[in-house]
C-alpha cells in the first residue's frame, strides 16, 4: 500500500476533519450553520467549502497540472476575499490540510512509512498555497477595479450629459458611403 491508497481509504475522515478545521475559524454559531445546512442555496458558503475540499483532495491524489486546482481555489478564495479575513488567514486553510493528514496518519508515520511521499504531498500543498495567494490578490484587485469602474462610469456619464465630451461613434456608424475601410471583401 502506498500513501495515495491510504489517503483514499481515509478520505472521508480526512475531509471531515479538514472541513471542521476550516469552519472553526468562524464564530461558533456560524461554524455550526456552515456544518449543519447542506442546501447549496441556503448555505452557499458551507456548500462551497465542502465541494472545494473534495475537489482539491481528488486533484492532489491524482497529481498533475496546477491549472486543474484553479477553479476550486478560485471558488473558495473569492468568498474569503470579501469576508473578515486577512490575506494570510484566507489562504491558511491549505496548510491546515498538512496538519490534518499528519494527525490522521499518525500511526503510519510513526512507523516511518511514506516519508518521501508525504514530503512530496506537502510540497504540492505549498504550491497550492502560492497559487491561492495569487488568486486572493486577483480577487482584491477585482474589488477595487469594480469600485473604480463605478466611479469612472458615473464621471463619464456626467461629462457626456454636460456635453463636455463627444464620443467617436462605434464602427462606421454615421458614415453614409462605403469606403475602402468599410467595404466587405468577397471571396
Amino acid at each position: 500500500m502506498n500513501l495515495k491508497d491510504l489517503l483514499l481509504e481515509k478520505k472521508s475522515s480526512i475531509l471531515k476533519r479538514w472541513f471542521d478545521t476550516i469552519v472553526a475559524s468562524y464564530p461558533p454559531d456560524t461554524s455550526n450553520f456552515f456544518k449543519s445546512n447542506h442546501n447549496q442555496f441556503a448555505n452557499p458558503v458551507g456548500f462551497t467549502f465542502s465541494e472545494v475540499i473534495h475537489g482539491l483532495f481528488e486533484e492532489l491524489l491524482q497529481g498533475g497540472d496546477p491549472e486543474r486546482y484553479f477553479p476550486y481555489l478560485n471558488d473558495i478564495i473569492k468568498i474569503k476575499a470579501v469576508q473578515d479575513f486577512s490575506p494570510s488567514q484566507s489562504v491558511s486553510f491549505l496548510f491546515l490540510l498538512k496538519k490534518v493528514v499528519r494527525e490522521e496518519l499518525r500511526k503510519e508515520l510513526q512507523r516511518n512509512q511514506f516519508q518521501d511521499e508525504l514530503l512530496s504531498l506537502e510540497s504540492e500543498i505549498d504550491a497550492l498555497a502560492l497559487l491561492a495567494f495569487d488568486i486572493f490578490m486577483q480577487c482584491r484587485e477585482k474589488i477595487y477595479e469594480i469600485r473604480t469602474n463605478e466611479a469612472r462610469n458615473m464621471m463619464f456619464r456626467l461629462l457626456k450629459r454636460a456635453n463636455l465630451v463627444c464620443e467617436i461613434p462605434d464602427g462606421n456608424q454615421g458614415l453614409g458611403e462605403e469606403t475602402v475601410l468599410t467595404q466587405k471583401i468577397e471571396g
Binding site: 456560524t30 441556503a42 468568498i79 470579501v82 473578515d84 462610469n153 456619464r157
Partner: protein
C-alpha cells in the same frame, strides 16, 4: 520588536475569541460601512444634530445629552407603534430567522443574524423600558446604552437592507426590518445617517429626485433617448413633460433616467407608450419614484412621497402609472394608505387600451407598470416578436420589495415569457417570496462598502451562477432601479458573463411598432440575433 521567525509567522490562531456578544466591540472594517452623512444634507431638510463626523473617528461629536435623546426617542416610538413594542417583546430567540439573512449567509458575522441584530436594540429597550431589565440587567438580557453600544447599533443598522426575508420565516411574524427601520430613525435623532442616504434625501426634497437632476437635465436625458430610439426604430417618440390634463402621470426611479442599464428600460417604456398612443405625461418635479426618506424616518418618507400626489393633483391627471422600482412599491403598498388614506382627487385606474379596471389600486390610484403591460399582453394588444431577444437566456430576480413587499410575482414572469424565448427560473428557495436580496438595498448601494455589498449579494449571485452553469443564462432581469445599478458589479465579481436588464427593455426590443424600420440592433445598440454586421442597413 525583533523580526518574527517563520514558524511564528505561520502560527495563526484560527479560533475566534470566546466572548459574549454583549462584550464584543464593533470593529469598523473599511469596505463594510458607508461614509457618514454631511451636515449640509441634514440641515437642508431640518434633521437634528447636523455636523461633520467620521465613522472611523473615536469621537462622533454627539450632542451632550445623546443618551437621553436616544432613550426618549425609543420610549416615544414604543408607545406610538404597537407593532414595534410587540416585535421587541415577543421574540423567543428560536433562531428560525438566524440563517435567512443574506449578510449572515455570505459573511458569517453572527451579529448579522436577524435575531441578534435586533437584540442589539432590544437589549437597550429592556434596560430602559422594562422593569425586569431595569432591575436584573444582563440576566434579563438588558444592557446600558454606552457609546460602544450606540456605535454597534449604527454599524449593524446599516448592515441590514430591510429586505424582510427573515420575517418570512418568523413563527411570530416579527418584522425585523421594522426594527432596523426604527433603529435608523433613532440614530437620525443624533444626526447619525450615512451620506449615501442623507444626500439623496436632501436632493429629493430640493429637486424632486435623488440624483438632483433639474428639469432641463431630465429633458436633456429624454432628448438623448428620443434620438437613440429614432436611430434604432426610425420612429420619433414625443413624450410630454408637466402637461396638465394628461390622463396618466408616469413616475419612475430617477436612476432609470440617468444610469445604464436602467436607461434602456426607460427607452423601452417610451416605445411602449408611443405605440399605444397613451395620453400620459412625465413630471420633472415628481421625478423620483424611489424614496430614500423611507431609509431615514417615517416622517421623511411621507414628506418625500407626498410630492407625487401633489404633482398628480396639480396636473389634474386621472391616475398614476409607476415604473420599475423596488422600495417605491413597498412605500406605496405598505405605507401610503396609512399616511394618506384613499385619494379622492384621482380616479380608480382603468387601462385606456383594454378597459381593465385595476381594483387593487382603488385606494392609492397607482398601477405598477408590469400589471399594466401584462394586462395589455393578456388582451392581445401588443404585437411582439420574442425572437428579437433570442440572444438572451434570461432568469428573473424578484426584487425584495415587489415580491415580499407587495406580492407582485406573476406579472413580470408573464411578460418575460411573452417577450423572450429562453427563460429559466433560479432554484425555488431563492425566488418569489424567498428571494435573496441584491445585498445593496435600503440605501447601501454606495461604492465605499463594496465588500459588504459583495458578501451580501453572495446568496443571490450563487443562485444566478447555478442557472448560468446549467442553462447558460446570460441575462438577469429585474424590476428595481437599485438592482439594475448594483447587480452588474455583483455579477462582474461572482458570475462574469451575466448582464442585467429591466423587463421593459426586453419589451421595447420585442415590440413590433407601426411604421418602424427594420430593426438591426437592440436598445443597447447591439446587433439583434441574425443581424450581426447589418447595423447600417
Amino acid at each position: 520588536m525583533a523580526n518574527p521567525k517563520p514558524e511564528e509567522l505561520i502560527r495563526i490562531n484560527h479560533v475566534p475569541p470566546k466572548q459574549a456578544w454583549m462584550d464584543t466591540r464593533p470593529d469598523f472594517r473599511p469596505g463594510m460601512f458607508c461614509y457618514a452623512s454631511k451636515a449640509k444634507s441634514l440641515e437642508y431638510v431640518g434633521m437634528p444634530n447636523p455636523r461633520q463626523w467620521s465613522v472611523k473617528d473615536e469621537d462622533w461629536h454627539l450632542p451632550e445629552n445623546w443618551q437621553e435623546i436616544f432613550i426618549e426617542g425609543l420610549r416615544e416610538r414604543v408607545d406610538k407603534y404597537r407593532s414595534f413594542r410587540l416585535f421587541l417583546d415577543i421574540c423567543v430567540r428560536c433562531g428560525a430567522c438566524a440563517d435567512k439573512c443574506h449578510f449572515y449567509i455570505g459573511g458569517g458575522d453572527p451579529k448579522n443574524m436577524p435575531v441578534l441584530r435586533a437584540e442589539l436594540l432590544r437589549s437597550v429597550y429592556r434596560k430602559y423600558c422594562t422593569t425586569s431589565g431595569r432591575i436584573m440587567g444582563k440576566i434579563a438580557g438588558a444592557r446600558e446604552l454606552t457609546i460602544d453600544v450606540l456605535k454597534e447599533i449604527w454599524y449593524y443598522a446599516y448592515q441590514c437592507t430591510e429586505c424582510r426575508r427573515c420575517s418570512l420565516f418568523c413563527p411570530y411574524g416579527i418584522d425585523t426590518a421594522e426594527i432596523t427601520i426604527l433603529a435608523r430613525e433613532l440614530l437620525n435623532l443624533l444626526g447619525l445617517n450615512i451620506d449615501w442616504i442623507a444626500g439623496p434625501v436632501a436632493n429629493c426634497y430640493r429637486t424632486g429626485n435623488h440624483l438632483g437632476l433639474q428639469p432641463h437635465t431630465i429633458k436633456d436625458s429624454f432628448d438623448m433617448f428620443i434620438d437613440d430610439l429614432e436611430t434604432i426604430t426610425g420612429i420619433k417618440v414625443s413624450p410630454t413633460f408637466n402637461r396638465k390634463g394628461a390622463e396618466i402621470l408616469v413616475v419612475i426611479p430617477s436612476g432609470s433616467m440617468f444610469a445604464d442599464p436602467g436607461t434602456f428600460t426607460t427607452m423601452g417604456e417610451l416605445l411602449l407608450f408611443h405605440e399605444l398612443g397613451l395620453d400620459y405625461t412625465w413630471s420633472t418635479f415628481a421625478s423620483e419614484g424611489g424614496d430614500f426618506g423611507f431609509f431615514t424616518t417615517n416622517e421623511m418618507a411621507k414628506r418625500l412621497h407626498s410630492k407625487i400626489y401633489a404633482e398628480a393633483k396639480r396636473l389634474k391627471v386621472k391616475w398614476i402609472l409607476g415604473g420599475e422600482c423596488g422600495h417605491m412599491w413597498r412605500v406605496w403598498h405598505q405605507y401610503h394608505n396609512t399616511w394618506f388614506g384613499p385619494v379622492d382627487y384621482l380616479e380608480e385606474p382603468v387601462s385606456p387600451i383594454t378597459g381593465t379596471r385595476f381594483e387593487n389600486a382603488k385606494s392609492n390610484k397607482t398601477v405598477h407598470i408590469t400589471e399594466f403591460t401584462a394586462d395589455l399582453i393578456k388582451n392581445g394588444k401588443l404585437n411582439l416578436d420574442p425572437k428579437r431577444n433570442d440572444n438572451l437566456i434570461v432568469t428573473y430576480h424578484d426584487s425584495c420589495n415587489t415580491s415580499r413587499g407587495m406580492g407582485l410575482l406573476e406579472e413580470p414572469r408573464f411578460i418575460i415569457n411573452n417577450v423572450c424565448n429562453n427563460f429559466y427560473e433560479m432554484p425555488e428557495n431563492t425566488i418569489r417570496e424567498q428571494t435573496f436580496c441584491c445585498g445593496s438595498g435600503s440605501g447601501l448601494n454606495a461604492s465605499e462598502n463594496m465588500e459588504q455589498r459583495l458578501r451580501g449579494g453572495l446568496p443571490r449571485a450563487n443562485a444566478v451562477r447555478h442557472v448560468h452553469k446549467k442553462y447558460g443564462v446570460n441575462m438577469l432581469a429585474c424590476i428595481c432601479a437599485i438592482d439594475r445599478a448594483v447587480l452588474p458589479p455583483l455579477m462582474d465579481y461572482w458570475v462574469p458573463g451575466v448582464a442585467v436588464t429591466g423587463v421593459h427593455e426586453m419589451v421595447g426590443n420585442a415590440l413590433i411598432m407601426k411604421g418602424e424600420r427594420k430593426r438591426t440592433t437592440n436598445l443597447r445598440g447591439e446587433p439583434l440575433p441574425g443581424m450581426e454586421g447589418e447595423e447600417d442597413v
